[in-house]
């Protein structure tokens, strides 16, 4: 059997069912069976933390938050009890989902919160965590309410608390709301934010697994990753490994398809589904138009032309081979009517707004890229602008900064200009000021100033 053959959904199995958020409906569908099974096996030694970790390792599960790091391996970086002494271990569920084009975690949070909680419980057991947090982005107000209620229900029914189900295991979960800042999705910025600070990414090492929240060993995992853990303990590592293109790209995966498609939405498919099949799931390109380009992993991923994405397996290694990345599996489809320079300018606006401001190349570079792109699409571009844009971009990437935000910010600019240079040149050819040195346009400054002057949103 091919690991890519379509199967009934697993992660999305309960979505669309009436009252899918309630604990009773979750239990009626077999939910919390794994959590019970594990806890009941603790005293007899049938279930140990190492056993859960080994299952996750054997499953080949890679992080669904963006970097694709092997989940089980990350867990083993947490120092042993002897080494960490009295320090508690924290598990943080990353529910900050803010990467443009990504909306899978929201669906899981709003429709099946107990699936996430059960994944967190099993991960907490594996990592000896007594207090786990869910960091949810501030904009998901209802999502936070749903999670809060789910946590309260789980406490009430005895799935959380002290001595859970008589096993001797203690576990509390706290829902923590962010307040609007993309960078807080980066794991060390998330930790700073949880600690009550500005979301400034930390210099690594030390990595969170060694020194994270409040200086204690901390594992940060994405909502979808933790949801997968639940199913791995349910069905076994072999099952998970059997779904997907190969042993490095395993398991069921959520794909967020948006932009110019007939049926935008979240689709579950085996990791590595070929591009054409995924596009077909989303109903194809809108209005029967031709495909122009695809951003395959959230706005931070280099865009691919229609020719480049043909036949590409949509997974971690397939997209790296195609010189892009899988990232958050936010797949943004652009049809033939798309104005690429404007799309790139739009993405540059996002990064200029979201830079945390710690590193000079990123803080200064992101607004500069935007200013130059703005003047090109506003018909005031200079002939030298495109090379200058590439030059600035190259000075912003390649490890010049504390986190990879800066690399993400330049990916759309570099890929857009190299692959669709003609479209940028067409703007510059029509430019009213092609030759002369000119001041930076006031346009961007206006907009950011607009937001700032308003004093309520900058």
């Amino acid at each position: 059997m091919s690991g890519l053959s379509p199967a009934p959904p697993v992660l999305l199995a309960r979505i669309g069912k009436p009252n899918s958020v309630s604990l009773d409906s979750y239990v009626a569908d077999g939910g919390y069976a794994s959590w019970k099974k594990v806890l009941e096996g603790v005293k007899g030694g049938e279930w140990t933390p190492a056993k859960v970790t080994d299952m996750v390792k054997a499953s080949g599960l890679r992080g669904r938050g963006g970097a694709g790091f092997p989940c089980g391996m990350k867990w083993t970086f947490v120092p042993t009890k002897e080494k960490r002494g009295d320090k508690p271990v924290y598990l943080l569920c990353n529910a900050d989902e803010s990467e443009p084009g990504t909306f899978k975690d929201r669906l899981l949070i709003e429709k099946d919160p107990h699936q996430i909680l059960e994944g967190m419980m099993l991960a907490s057991f594996a990592l000896d965590v007594k207090h786990a947090y869910i960091y949810i982005r501030g904009e998901m107000v209802h999502g936070a309410e749903i999670l809060d209620k789910a946590v309260a229900e789980a406490h009430e029914k005895g799935f959380l608390g002290t001595d859970v189900l008589g096993s001797g295991v203690d576990l509390t979960i706290t829902v923590h709301r962010g307040a609007g800042a993309y960078i807080c999705g980066e794991e060390t910025a998330l930790i700073e934010s949880l600690e009550g600070k500005r979301g400034h990414p930390r210099i690594k090492p030390p990595f969170p697994a060694v020194s994270g929240a409040w200086g204690c060993p901390t594992v940060v995992n994405n909502v979808e990753t933790l949801s997968c853990v639940k199913h791995i303990v349910d069905r076994g590592a072999e099952w998970f490994k059997g779904v997907g293109r190969n042993e490095k790209n395993t398991g069921p995966k959520l794909y967020c398809v948006s932009g110019h498609v007939e049926k935008p939405g979240v689709y579950e498919a085996p990791t590595g589904i070929p591009w054409e099949e995924l596009l077909a799931l989303a109903g194809g390109v809108r209005g029967g138009r031709k495909l122009k380009a695809v951003i395959p992993g959230g706005s931070s991923a280099p865009m691919l032309t229609a020719a480049e994405i043909a036949g590409v397996p949509m997974d971690f290694d397939g997209l790296v081979a195609a010189k892009s990345m899988f990232g958050s599996a936010g797949i943004i489809v652009m049809d033939e009517t798309t104005d690429i320079p404007k799309a790139v300018t739009n993405i540059a606006k996002f990064y200029a707004h979201e830079s945390c401001g710690q590193c000079t190349p990123c803080r200064e570079g992101t607004p500069w890229l935007l200013k130059m792109l703005r003047r090109i699409v506003n018909g005031e571009g200079k002939k030298s602008d495109l090379d200058l844009l590439l030059q600035i971009s190259n000075q912003m990437g390649n490890g010049m900064t504390i986190c990879v935000f800066s690399d993400a910010a330049i990916a759309p600019v570099i890929s857009g200009i190299t692959k669709f240079r003609g479209e940028f040149e067409a703007y510059i050819e029509k430019s009213t000021k092609p030759e002369f040195e000119q001041k930076a346009p006031t346009d961007l400054t206006n907009e950011i100033a607009d937001r700032k002057a308003a004093g309520i949103h900058s």
Partner: protein, 185 residues
């Protein structure tokens, strides 16, 4: 140091200031209502440090007063034993803490890429136009509306996406704007 003349007026006049580190104070005392105070007390037990309760406490302050004033900053700083300057630094980092009063309906239009591909900028500009040429962040004269531009709301499949206060609205295209705005009473 003697330069009395350079001291701020309030201090010269001997007006007491709020909080331990009064530099940012505006001189008016605020405090939480009883219910909010109870919510605050519950918060503290969820974190190993007091400081970690800062974001949730600011949320409580915004719920209580609608926005985060300098007085609210001082009050929160006192509650959590933090410097007001630090609290203010945190408030200004995050976009969702309102640093000025907003209209009854805070209309937040996403203009990130998937919404952009579906005409979001036009929706944003048109929205302000139909509300009488409202500027970004401004409160309409009847106090009902404020319009701001926001980044991706993780609703990209329902683009253009708009959030009004805590509620999500989808596929707000230009031709649906009148009905959408009319629905906000």
């Amino acid at each position: 140091m003697s330069g009395g003349q350079n001291l701020p007026v309030a201090e010269q006049a001997g007006n007491p200031r709020v909080g331990e580190h009064g530099a940012l104070s505006c001189g008016r005392t605020l405090s939480f209502s009883r219910e909010t105070r109870a919510d605050f007390d519950r918060l503290l037990g969820r974190y190993p440090t007091k400081q970690a309760a800062l974001l949730p406490t600011l949320w409580l302050a915004q719920r209580e007063w609608g926005w985060i004033s300098r007085e609210a900053v001082d009050y929160v700083a006192t509650l959590l034993e933090l410097a007001p300057a630090f609290v203010w630094g945190v408030v200004t980092f995050y976009t969702m803490y309102n640093r000025a009063p907003v209209g009854k309906h805070l209309i937040q239009v996403c203009t990130s890429i998937s919404c952009h591909l579906n005409g979001a900028e036009e929706v944003f500009h048109e929205c302000k136009k139909r509300l009488g040429g409202l500027k970004t962040g401004e409160v309409s004269s009847d106090g009902k509306f404020t319009v701001v531009e926001v980044e991706c709301l993780a609703q990209c499949d329902k683009a253009p996406a708009v959030m009004v206060n805590d509620d999500d609205y989808f596929v707000i295209t230009k031709d649906k704007l009148d009905a959408f705005l009319g629905g906000l009473k």
